[in-house]
Symmetry: C2
Subunit: 339 residues, 2 copies
C-alpha cells in the first residue's frame, strides 16, 4: 500500500518480475478490495499470488516510533511479520522508509555481529554497477559501524553484482579538507588489517564514486544520503540543459531527431528506475525498499533485487564473513583499541 501509486504499481511491477522469475510466489499485504481487481489484470501472477488483508496503512509521514507502537497490524507490519515467521522469504515496500527500518529491525532483529543495519543501493559508474552504503539509516556512525558496512557491502557486491574480489573505499573529504574524521581514520585502520577478507582500497573522494574507483563505497548515512541525491540532482540539471540546448536551433532539433535512438539508449542507461531497490542490509531477513515515487517498471527492479539477495544467500554469507573478520582482527585489536 506504500508509495505514490500503490497498490496499482506494486501489482503491475510484480506481474513484470513474475514474468522474469519463474520460482517466486507473491503475497500482497493490503486492502483486499483494492488489490483483488488489480490482481485479476495481472496474468503472470495467476496461481502464484495471495492477498493478506490489512485494515490499516502506515502513512508516509508517520514517525518510526509511532509505527513501532501502532503499526503491527498495518500492511507493512503484517508483511514484515510474514518474513519473521518464515511465510515469506523477503519483503519489498515502497512505503515509509523510517517505519520500515524500525519495524524490520524490531521484528526481525539484526544479523549476529552487525552493530547497525544500513541502507545500500546499486549505482551506475564509469566502470559498471557499484554498491553504496549507508544511504540514510544511520545519521551518526562510529568506526565499527563503518567496518560492518564494508563487510556487508563487499558480500553484496560478490553476490548480487558478481564481483569476485570487490574493492572497498571509505568516502572522505579530500585535499580541500584539513583533516579526516576520526571515525573514518579508525575504520581505515581496521580495514587495512583485514586485507585477507576485504580488498580495502583506502580513502576515496566524491568524484571517485561514479568514476567507479571502487566496487563498494562506504560512508555514514548522512553523507551517503546527500551524495546520492546530489547525483540525482546533477543528472537532472545536465539532462535539462541538454534538452534546452538541442531545442534552441533547427540544427539542434534536426540533430536531435537523427541521434534520437542514441540519446534514448543513454537515457535508458542512466534511468534511475533501473537502480531502484535499496537493501536494508544487516537485518535478519531480506528487506528491500523501493522509491516511493516509482512506476511499475521500477518496482519490478526492486523485486529483482529482493529475489537475487535471497537466492544469493547474502545474509548467511555476511555472517560467515564477519566471523572470519572478527577472528582475524581480534589479536591486533587489543593493543590499539578502536574508539
Amino acid at each position: 500500500m506504500g508509495g505514490d501509486d500503490a497498490p496499482a504499481i506494486v501489482i503491475r511491477g510484480a506481474n513484470q518480475a513474475a514474468g522474469r522469475h519463474a520460482a517466486p510466489r507473491f503475497l500482497f499485504f493490503g486492502d483486499q478490495d483494492a488489490v483483488r481487481p488489480l490482481l485479476a489484470q495481472a496474468p503472470a501472477l495467476a496461481g502464484r499470488a495471495d492477498i493478506v488483508h490489512a485494515e490499516t496503512v502506515i502513512a508516509g509521514d508517520a514517525k518510526p516510533g509511532w509505527a513501532l507502537r501502532r503499526g503491527r497490524r498495518s500492511s507493512m507490519g503484517l508483511a514484515i511479520q510474514a518474513v519473521k515467521e518464515g511465510r515469506a522469504d523477503a519483503v519489498v515496500s515502497a512505503g515509509n522508509t523510517g517505519a520500515l527500518m524500525a519495524m524490520a529491525k524490531y521484528s526481525l532483529g539484526m544479523l549476529p555481529g552487525i552493530s547497525r543495519p544500513a541502507i545500500a543501493a546499486i549505482l551506475p559508474s564509469r566502470r559498471g554497477a557499484i554498491v553504496c552504503l549507508d544511504l540514510g539509516a544511520n545519521i551518526e556512525c562510529d568506526a565499527n559501524n563503518l567496518v560492518d558496512f564494508a563487510v556487508m557491502g563487499a558480500l553484496f557486491a560478490q553476490t548480487v553484482l558478481g564481483r569476485a574480489d570487490p574493492t572497498v573505499g571509505l568516502l572522505t573529504a579530500g585535499p580541500f579538507a584539513q583533516e579526516d574524521r576520526d571515525v573514518v581514520q579508525d575504520a581505515a585502520r581496521v580495514l587495512a588489517r583485514a586485507d585477507r577478507q576485504i580488498a580495502f582500497h583506502g580513502f576515496i573522494e566524491g568524484h571517485d564514486i561514479m568514476a567507479g574507483t571502487v566496487d563498494v563505497v562506504v560512508s555514514d548515512g548522512f553523507t551517503g544520503n546527500v551524495a546520492l541525491k546530489m547525483a540525482e540532482g546533477s543528472l537532472r540539471l545536465y539532462a535539462g540543459w541538454l534538452r534546452e540546448s538541442l531545442s534552441t536551433s533547427w540544427r539542434g532539433r534536426f540533430g536531435y531527431g537523427l541521434a534520437r535512438g542514441a540519446l534514448r539508449a543513454m537515457r535508458t542507461r542512466i534511468d534511475p528506475r533501473r537502480y531502484n531497490g535499496a537493501m536494508l542490509l544487516g537485518l535478519n531477513g531480506t528487506v528491500v525498499k523501493s522509491h516511493g515515487g516509482i512506476d511499475s517498471f521500477g518496482f519490478a527492479k526492486a523485486l529483482d533485487v529482493a529475489i537475487e539477495m535471497h537466492s544469493g544467500n547474502v545474509n548467511h554469507r555476511i555472517i560467515d564473513a564477519l566471523d572470519r573478520l572478527h577472528e582475524s582482527s581480534q589479536p591486533q585489536r587489543e593493543p590499539a583499541p578502536i574508539a
Copy 2:
C-alpha cells in the same frame, strides 16, 4: 607558484582578467627568474604588474602545520603577508588549500563574530548560480558555525551574485533518514528566529542543490566536499555516456555533427572552469582558492571572484550583518541555549 602548471597559467590568467578589469594591479609572488619572461608575454599586464621574489614554495602535499612553521618566506606566505600589511587587497592561489587556509587564518585572523572560516563556491543550478559552503574547511561543525556560514553565504550571494533577498537552506539527509543531526536542528532554530536578517528556507536535500531550491546551501565541510565532488563525478559520467552513445551509430554521429553548436553551448554552460574560485570566507581579508589543475581561463575566473569580493565589500557587510543577527537573537537565546 601553486597548481599543476604554475606559474605560466597564473600569469596568463591574470593577463585575461586584466583585460576585463581596468583598475586592479597585480603582484606576482614567486621565482622571479620563472615569472619575468612570462610577464614579458602578457601585454594586458604591462605597467600593472610587479614581482615579489620568493625563494621557496609550499609543496602540494605539505601539512598545514608545517606550512605555518616553515612557510613564512614562501610565495604563499609572502602573498598573504602583503594582504595583512595592506600592500594587496586580495590573494588568489592555486596551491595547497590546507596550507592557504591555515596561514591566512593565522596571519589575517578572523572577522569579528565569526567562529570559523568556510570555503564557499559558486555552483550552477536550474535556477541560476548558487553559493555552497562549507566545502571542506571544517570537517566537524557545531550549530553556531552553521549559522555563521548562513550569514556569510547570504551576504556573498547578495554581493557577488546580486540577489536582493537570498534564500538559505540547511543541507540534511531526507526521508530515507530516521532523524536529522542535532547540530543541523539547532542551527535551524536560530535561523528561523533571525527571519528579519536571513530568508531561511529550511531544510533541503541533496537534489535541491542543483534544482536551485535556495540561493545559499549550508552544510558542514565534510558533507559539502563530498557533495561537490559527487556532482563533478556525475556530470563526467553523464558526459562520457553521451559521447559514447552518439559515437556508436552513423545516425548518432551525423546528429552530433548537426547539433555540435548546441552541444558546445551546453558544455560551455556546465564547464567547471567557469565556476573556479572558492572563497575562504570569514577571514579578515579576501582570500580566493583556485583549483590546482586549472588552466589560464579558469584562473582568470578565480581572479574575477577576488575582484568582485573586494569591490563588493563582502567582508564589511558580513561584519554588519552578524552584528544585527546577534543583537536580534540575543534575547531569545537565553531560554533555549544552543549546544
